[in-house]
């Protein structure tokens, strides 16, 4: 009898597996799916290892760099005020390049065009530190994606990518994160894939990593060729994820299993 019920439930899931968006009232951060121990590590700044990257970012913020010998602080002042809600609004439209830009891309743009310093590679300790520091200034604020018409096309593309079956396993992001977020894949909670805590300290990595690193993990998991760091595809996905998570509070730096 038990297996019949389980089968009926699975069939029900399979039946609704075609892209059912999560209603706003049911949106939950990945934090809600974690064990009490991992949540406690995240909640306490003294034990959250991500805070080390915040501290590193804070010193980079004040450090003169590049041919300009200027620091981020020399233009932006106190991050606590000037950067307060920035991460909650990104990705945003970048008029200089005429394309959407994510937070890490924007930081790197300041580095090269304003500080006249060498660019910071994606996932470098410096860029992660600065992104975590800037992201941290929005902790507790709701994700508030801008309603900028210039972002609409890329956001729609992000939604399409989220719902595209990929890789040898032929699964879309939506197959797991819309249709099966209540379930467990192996020993892990599937979760709703909200970008609430990034950059995150992931216990599996023993380090802080970006949202794009996390998405690459899921793509490799379904045996797909991951998109490149900083690619238009990843920025499109980030735009859609932000809209999908609108209203959820930012937690940077979150801790994840």
């Amino acid at each position: 009898m038990a297996f019949r019920l389980a089968f009926a439930a699975a069939l029900l899931c399979a039946g609704i597996a075609v892209a059912q968006e999560i209603p706003p009232g049911e949106r939950r951060s990945g934090t809600d799916f974690m064990s009490a121990e991992t949540r406690a590590i995240q909640a306490d700044d003294g034990s959250n290892p991500g805070m080390l990257w915040v501290l590193q970012g804070e010193s980079l913020w004040k450090e003169p760099a590049g041919a300009s010998r200027r620091s981020c602080a020399s233009c932006h002042g106190e991050a606590a005020t000037s950067m307060r809600d920035v991460a909650a609004r990104y990705p945003a439209f970048d008029t200089a390049s005429g394309a959407p830009v994510d937070l890490a891309g924007k930081i790197d743009q300041c580095r090269t065009t304003r500080q006249h310093a060498a660019g910071l590679p994606r996932e470098s300790e410096e860029l992660l530190g600065l992104s975590t520091y800037v992201g941290h200034q929005s902790r507790g604020l709701p994700i508030a994606p801008p309603d900028d018409p210039r972002l609409h096309a890329a956001r729609a593309e992000g939604k399409r990518l989220f719902e595209t079956r990929m890789g040898q396993l032929d699964l879309s992001c939506s197959s797991c994160h819309d249709a099966n977020w209540r379930g467990r894949l192996g020993g892990s909670a599937v979760t709703q894939a909200h970008p609430t805590g990034y950059p995150i300290y992931r216990l599996e990595w023993q380090a802080v990593g970006s949202l794009q690193r996390r998405m690459r993990g899921c793509m490799v998991g379904v045996r797909a060729e991951p998109f490149a760091y900083g690619s238009a595809e990843f920025i499109a996905l980030e735009l859609y994820l932000a809209e999908r998570a609108a209203g959820l509070a930012l937690e940077t730096p979150a801790v994840r299993p």
Binding site: A2, F3, A6, F7, A10, L11, C13, A14, G15, A17, V18, T164, R165, M166, G167, Q168, L169, D170, L171, S172, S175, A179, N180, G183, R184, L185, G186, G187, V190, M219, V220, V222, R223, A224, E225
Partner: protein, 138 residues
């Protein structure tokens, strides 16, 4: 859409036609599977991935997923030929299924270079899994 196909897609048995739509004989040239080899393959979290979605009478219950039916007693519920069809290509029964197609080349976009053009499991491996699952009677 014809009635038997529709019936197969929604998983209903239509007397007389069900067998042909819902089952798959052992392919020519494939020898009967070995249940012990099948048990090893089902439990393999990197290669077959079955336990990422399915639970069942396998090692490490806490590392088994719950995105798919429990496979305990599957051999009492389904015939060998019915199991073979499902492990080979679940999408013939349910085109929207979460379960990957194991033998054929049905895959999504951007398949990673290491996997491109290759099935997840070869027919003989599927045959081992069929022999093992058919032996799970309770």
């Amino acid at each position: 859409m014809n009635a038997p196909l529709l019936a197969a897609m929604v998983g209903l048995a239509v007397p007389g036609t069900a067998l042909a739509q819902d089952a798959m004989p052992r392919p020519a040239g494939i020898t009967p599977g070995e249940a012990t080899e099948g048990a090893r393959l089902v439990a393999d979290r990197q290669k077959s991935l079955c336990v990422l979605c399915h639970s069942g009478p396998f090692p490490n219950p806490h590392l088994q997923g719950n995105l798919a039916p429990d496979l305990s007693g599957i051999g009492a519920r389904l015939s060998e030929d019915e199991i073979r069809l499902r492990v080979t290509d679940m999408k013939r029964l349910n085109p929207d299924s979460l379960m990957p197609t194991y033998a054929a080349s049905k895959a999504g976009e951007r398949v990673g270079t290491a996997w491109r053009g290759r099935p997840i499991l070869v027919e003989q491996e599927i045959e081992h899994i069929v022999a093992y699952l058919a032996s799970l009677k309770e």
